[in-house]
């Protein structure tokens, strides 16, 4: 027992004292904070810019209502300084004509292309290419430039009867905020236009055509209703899986690297002749587990401090709202069991390899195995109860992450929780047993990588 403690103590202190530990402890929260705030800042910045929109209204009736509509929402239609966000520019009749001309030209080119294709398939060889159609009109991109606009909305007459859809041309169609706003505005003005001749006042038309939104509400045990939303739950679930993945990978690699060092300088001989392989392996794994715990603790303290400094307690309340102590307790159990299982595998890698390169290759399957829950995350979030979800939450190597996700989304039946914890405990015990056998022999092999049959033979011999 004293020897086990001695090994744990050394692994812990020698890892905690390294520069890389200090750096990762300090840097990870910084990177995390940056990865959350930078997109937010960027999004805010793009929303703060004026957008000039050219409108090619071929119906001749929508420009003015659209212009009015895009001044109607005080939250969405104005910049900070009170100026309009969307400035509309109407296309001149000549520009409209050119745009139509271009559309016709495109249609002709397409039709000609199709015809040529058909002819070719009938008489494959020696048919003269038809003369190219000379381009006419103004393409939308050019028109945007001419109008000194950022985007162009083309509304064909058939839009009013629902036979055609308006088109939004822009160099950037990734910024969905203005697209959605203009779409909404168009919807309401087109509706009003469609009701023309019914004598209904525009306000009444708006009321009549207002859509409905479906609001998701999470139901918790005991019947109370939580104001959860999909984003928070998804984030929480995936957060735990990623944490487990990262922590296990980092400390697993540190573990196998440490073993390689000891094998390389032959300290391992002294260790093996002084402590049992089981003590050595367990000590190392637990030592690194302590490292992880202290790192998590440091991050929690830093995170709490950051929140307090930023004065945004509500934001953290979002994450905490799906949390309760029972859930946290389960998460702790799964995290620990998942770590122990993977750490044993990494220890085995350290024991059977002799060089760092070899170890990296051997680690690859373990890392891929750890990726499975992350790749499955979206499917799990959508269907936490499907056969696959349940299956993966019983398979020991994916159980910890998958169960963490499932618990954050929709508490699985107690039977499943107990079964998966039971399977995990048995797997950890089996892994420790097998790996300490491999340890005993593999640890002393140097200069020669062992083969799978050899490993199997040792396990049998044990």
């Amino acid at each position: 027992m004293d020897k086990l403690l001695a090994v744990i103590r050394r692994e812990f202190f020698e890892t905690v004292r390294t520069k890389s530990f200090m750096i990762s402890t300090l840097l990870v929260p910084v990177i995390m904070a940056a990865s959350m705030t930078v997109p937010m800042l960027l999004a805010r910045q793009s929303g703060a810019k004026k957008l000039t929109v050219g409108v090619a209204d071929q119906t001749g009736a929508l420009f003015d209502p659209l212009d009015r509509e895009l001044q109607s929402d005080p939250n969405k239609d104005y910049l900070k300084d009170g100026a309009r966000k969307y400035e509309l520019v109407a296309a001149s009749p000549e520009q409209l004509g050119n745009l139509e001309e271009y559309a016709r030209y495109k249609d002709e080119v397409e039709a000609a292309g199709k015809e040529a294709q058909e002819r070719k398939s009938k008489t494959p060889a020696s048919v003269a290419e038809p003369a190219p159609i000379p381009p006419r009109g103004t393409p939308p991109g050019e028109l945007i430039k001419k109008m000194k606009a950022d985007a162009l909305v083309e509304i064909r007459p058939k839009v009013l009867t629902g036979e055609s859809e308006p088109i939004y041309y822009s160099e950037n169609v990734g910024d969905f905020e203005p697209i959605r706003r203009i779409e909404n505005a168009l919807n309401s003005v087109v509706m009003v236009q469609r009701f023309e001749g019914t004598n209904l006042p525009p306000e009444r038309i708006k009321e009549l055509t207002k859509g409905v939104d479906l609001t998701p509400r999470k139901v918790k045990e005991g019947g109370e209703i939580a104001k959860g939303n999909f984003g928070t739950e998804y984030f929480t679930a995936i957060f735990f899986a990623i944490m487990l993945y990262m922590m296990t990978m980092m400390s697993g690699m540190a573990l196998s690297r440490g073993l390689l060092e000891e094998k390389g300088n032959r300290i391992i001989e002294i260790l093996v002749s002084s402590v049992t392989p089981f003590q050595l392996m367990t000590g190392k794994i637990l030592g690194h587990a302590l490292v992880i715990l202290s790192q998590l603790l440091a991050w929690s303290v830093m995170g709490a401090a950051l929140y307090m400094a930023a004065g945004s307690a509500e934001r953290s309340a979002g994450v905490l709202s799906v949390m309760n102590l029972t859930l946290l307790g389960y998460l702790g159990v799964y995290f620990l069991l998942g770590y122990l299982l993977y750490a044993a595998l990494f220890a085995a890698v350290g024991a059977i390899c002799t060089t760092e390169m070899e170890a990296q290759q051997t680690q690859t399957p373990i890392l891929l195995l750890q990726m499975v829950p992350l790749l499955a995350a979206i499917a799990i979030v959508r269907q936490p109860d499907s056969g696959w979800s349940v299956g993966l939450s019983m398979f020991p190597f994916t159980a910890p992450s998958i169960m963490m996700m499932r618990m954050a989304l929709k508490p699985p039946p107690m039977v499943e929780i107990l079964a998966s914890i039971g399977i995990l405990i048995l797997s950890v015990a089996a892994a420790f047993w097998a790996v300490s056998k491999i340890f005993r022999v593999g640890i002393l092999m140097t200069g020669k990588k062992m083969t799978i049959p050899e490993v199997v033979r040792w396990l049998r011999a044990a």
Binding site: A6, V7, F13, G264, N265, R266, E269, I270, S273, T276
Partner: protein, 317 residues
């Protein structure tokens, strides 16, 4: 000589064999290390010395045979009573000297509190008192060797096993280590060390075991081994043509040195007969019946077994 005392042997190997794949590193090796003695495990490189030591220390499991160490089979409790210096000596280069020594003591059952004053005492003794809080990698090679040695004996083991302890040491550290070995023996501890340098073994060992190609060639106290060979060797110096000595019926083998020739006599040959035979032919300047060195015995016996076993099947250190 405590060696002769009939106490429980510190180490007893019985019929040990170990193969690595096709290579037979150790073959049916039996030996007994008397408690309280300095025991040399001798042999050329690749003879199986390190493998035998690792088997004795439960680092390797033998294919056949049994090991009794300090009177019983290997166990965690017994591990605390053994000090071991591996051949390729390694240290945790990034740890502080004091921390590393404390760790080495702790895995042999010595608590930190107990270890701290010992560490200071030892470091001061080898003039490294100021280096306790330095990282191991900041030390010179010679200093690291001293630290390694301290790590071996810090837990005050009864049995100390040193694998090629003198290789790579400078003359000062060689002397220091020699003094340590003598001192440890005086304290009643047993020291086993392996070497291929016979002069050291000759000066330090009470008993030796000579192995070659994984087999035991010779075992016993140094004095008895020498006595066995002693009456058979003559140091001879002369003026004149000594060519007739080659092929002389009384001469088994000759070893030429700068100023004299070592002549190994044939079995049961009387040196007196040789003297009377050569006296009329050359001018004898020196004729002395000498004890052969372990070196000579080593060369003699290893050469012999190699002739007997022409293919060298062993290449494991």
């Amino acid at each position: 000589m405590s060696y002769a005392a009939s106490t429980t042997p510190a180490l007893h190997l019985q019929g040990i064999s170990k193969s690595f794949g096709e290579k037979k590193a150790v073959r049916d090796l039996s030996l007994e290390v008397p408690a309280g003695s300095v025991f040399g495990l001798l042999g050329p490189n690749g003879a199986g010395k390190s493998t035998s030591i690792r088997i004795a220390l439960n680092i390797y499991v033998p294919d056949e045979g049994t090991v009794r160490i300090l009177g019983s089979p290997h166990s965690p409790a017994i591990a605390n009573r053994i000090g071991y210096l591996p051949e390729e000596r390694g240290l945790y280069t990034k740890m502080k000297v004091g921390d590393m020594l404390a760790y080495m003591a702790s895995i042999r059952g010595v608590q930190a509190k107990e270890a701290a004053p010992r560490i200071q005492r030892w470091l001061e003794r080898v003039e490294l008192g100021a280096y306790r809080d330095k990282k191991v990698q900041e030390l010179s090679k010679g200093m690291q060797q001293k630290v390694q040695f301290i790590a071996t004996v810090l837990h005050e083991p009864e049995l100390i096993v040193l694998d090629e302890p003198f290789s790579g040491l400078d003359p000062i550290n060689t002397n220091l280590l020699k003094d340590f070995i003598v001192e440890l023996r005086q304290q009643g501890r047993t020291i086993i060390f392996s070497t291929h340098i016979m002069e050291q073994a000759e000066r330090l060992c009470d008993a030796i075991c000579l192995i070659n190609s994984g087999r035991k060639v010779l075992e016993g106290s140094v004095s008895s081994i020498k006595a066995q060979y002693g009456r058979n060797t003559v140091a001879l110096a002369y003026d004149g043509d000594g060519g007739f000595l080659r092929g002389h019926p009384l001469v088994r083998k000759m070893n030429h040195y700068n100023s004299y020739v070592e002549v190994y006599l044939a079995e049961r040959a009387d040196p007196q007969h040789l003297l009377s035979d050569i006296a009329p032919r050359v001018r004898v300047k020196r004729f002395e019946v000498i004890e052969p060195s372990l070196h000579d015995i080593f060369i003699d016996r290893v050469g012999e077994t190699q002739e007997a076993a022409p293919s060298r099947e062993v290449a494991v250190g």
